[in-house]
Amino acid sequence: MSDKVLSVKDFRKAYGGFVAVDGISFEVQRGEIFGLLGPNGAGKTTTLECLEGIRKPDGGQMRIMNVDPSHEPRKLQNLIGVQLQTSSLPWNMTVGEAMKFFCAYHGVAPRYDLLERLELKDLLNSQFSKLSTGLQRRLALALAIAHNPPMLFLDEPTAGLDVGSRSELHMLMEELRDEGSTILLATHDMAEAEKMADQVAILMKGKVVTTGTPREITATGAGFTKVSVSTDQSVLHKNGKVFPAVRQTLFKEEYAIYYTTDPGPTVSALIDYVSAQGDKLIDLRVERPSLEERFLEITNKE
């Protein structure tokens, strides 16, 4: 049974003569991470701002748990948590003040446990401007989830973060989803979307060009599966053997790389051939086309 938390239908928004979003529709189910992808200027931020009640749509319908964001801001306030793209807090506000400030406006007690969980507890008296980008992002996330909102909006949450902070934030997002939160993740980081999102919608010039799971989206493209093989005696480098379903072959250092439309027969033939030549497999990797490759394919077509 459908457990719809958020729905957008024929949503349209223009700024003067410029149409930023042109009649898009999508739905987000409870407990999923939904990736809203697109290049800069695709309409992601406009869509989020209208869902957050910051702007009013020019047309169409938006509902978050049956609440209309543009007409019922009071009801919306405790349903959503928002980590803004730019972590917007007054520069001289301390971590502790920020937690007290926002929790008070949401009518809940300050969540110092969240600050501990996000390793911010020792920075209670540190001013926002003195925090690193990673810590600012963590604080913004702590403030967004402090009132336990069922719907969370994350706008480029890992932009500017180092690998460790990024990984920690991904773990936290997964934990939140497992605890029942629904997350709308706006990003142009395809690797992040592919790793984190259960469903994605790709926006281009204000329109949804495709939706589905990352696997469904990559499967619908013309992209080939990449098979990389390394053997002890590099027998594949020496003979120009042609394998089934292979469309392109490359040799890069000790690896022979094959782009295939059907990885099963290709891999099977490769293993048989290497064995028959008296060589030994050292490494074999099969990689399906990435969401990034599919995204580039779509954007180039558009």
Partner: protein
């Protein structure tokens, strides 16, 4: 109430923690007061009559007209008001709390000046302290509301400096702070009566010091109070959550309506 208390406490601390605001709220007005008290009262002994009210008005103007608008513009430009909106901080709190805390800082400095002006520099103390307190409260409120209005309508930090100086500099020269309005040439008086400062000084002179004034001091006080309420109402009406939002409720020039009580006052006498 907790939200209001937290917000108020934070904003009050900001007035001390932010070096620019500390300068505008305390260091600049108190430093200028000390300088005027030490030098001006010696150069012009007649200035002792004006020292306390003029320095209270100066302190109120530096913290409100010069100090208050800048942070409002900076927060709007940085997107802080957007995050406030998303988290349910209402417009009245966004505007009223910084205004109130600034008024609070201005009143602390006004108290210091009022209590030390006579013993330290020979300033003439008010003859009617109740009237002095009333005029001070109305004046600080009105300046605070005008400062808030400037912060709302100014498109940038540079804009706030321009608008603030349009009020501050003429007030210093023509507002009756350096010399009584009765000493100004008759041709200049109408211009001075467009300035809130002139009305504050008239109200102080007539009500707190019991001396003769150019205009009715009660009318001056009423005009001030009306313009303060009007300025705050206009600030709330013209408030924009962010600079990217091109949907405005009214044109910024509507802010000029704040001059209406002063224009009407010119015909009242």
């Amino acid at each position: 109430m907790t939200a209001f208390t937290n917000h108020f406490t934070y904003e009050f601390k900001t007035g001390l923690r932010n070096p620019s605001l500390l300068m505008m709220n305390y260091l600049f007005p108190l430093g200028f007061y000390a300088m005027m008290g030490l030098i001006m009262t010696k150069v012009n002994p007649g200035f002792t009559q004006l020292l306390i009210p003029a320095m209270v008005v100066f302190a109120a103007m530096t913290s409100t007209i010069l100090g208050l608008p800048g942070p409002l513009v900076e927060l709007r430009e940085a997107g802080v008001f957007r995050s406030f909106k998303i988290n349910g901080v209402p417009v009245p709190s966004i505007l009223a709390i910084p205004t109130l805390t600034t008024i609070f800082h201005a009143l602390i400095v006004a108290t210091i000046i009022a209590l030390t002006g006579a013993p330290l520099f020979g300033g003439v103390a008010p003859t009617n302290w109740t009237a002095f307190i009333l005029v001070t409260l109305v004046a600080v409120f009105t300046f605070g509301a005008i400062g808030t209005l400037i912060g709302v309508v100014a498109a940038s930090s540079r804009g706030t400096v321009l608008y603030s100086q349009l009020i501050f500099l003429p007030s210093m020269l023509l507002g009756g702070m350096m010399m009584p309005i009765s000493s100004l040439p008759a041709s200049v008086r109408p211009i001075s009566m467009l300035l809130p400062t002139a009305h504050v000084m008239q109200a102080y002179t007539g009500l707190a010091y019991g001396q003769g004034t150019v205009t009715n001091p009660v009318s001056a006080l009423v005009i001030l109070a009306i313009s303060g309420v009007l300025a705050f109402g206009l600030a709330s009406y013209l408030f924009n959550w962010d600079s990217r939002n091109n949907v405005r409720r009214g044109h910024p020039l509507l802010a000029l309506l704040v001059l209406v009580p002063y224009l009407v006052g010119m015909f009242l006498k």
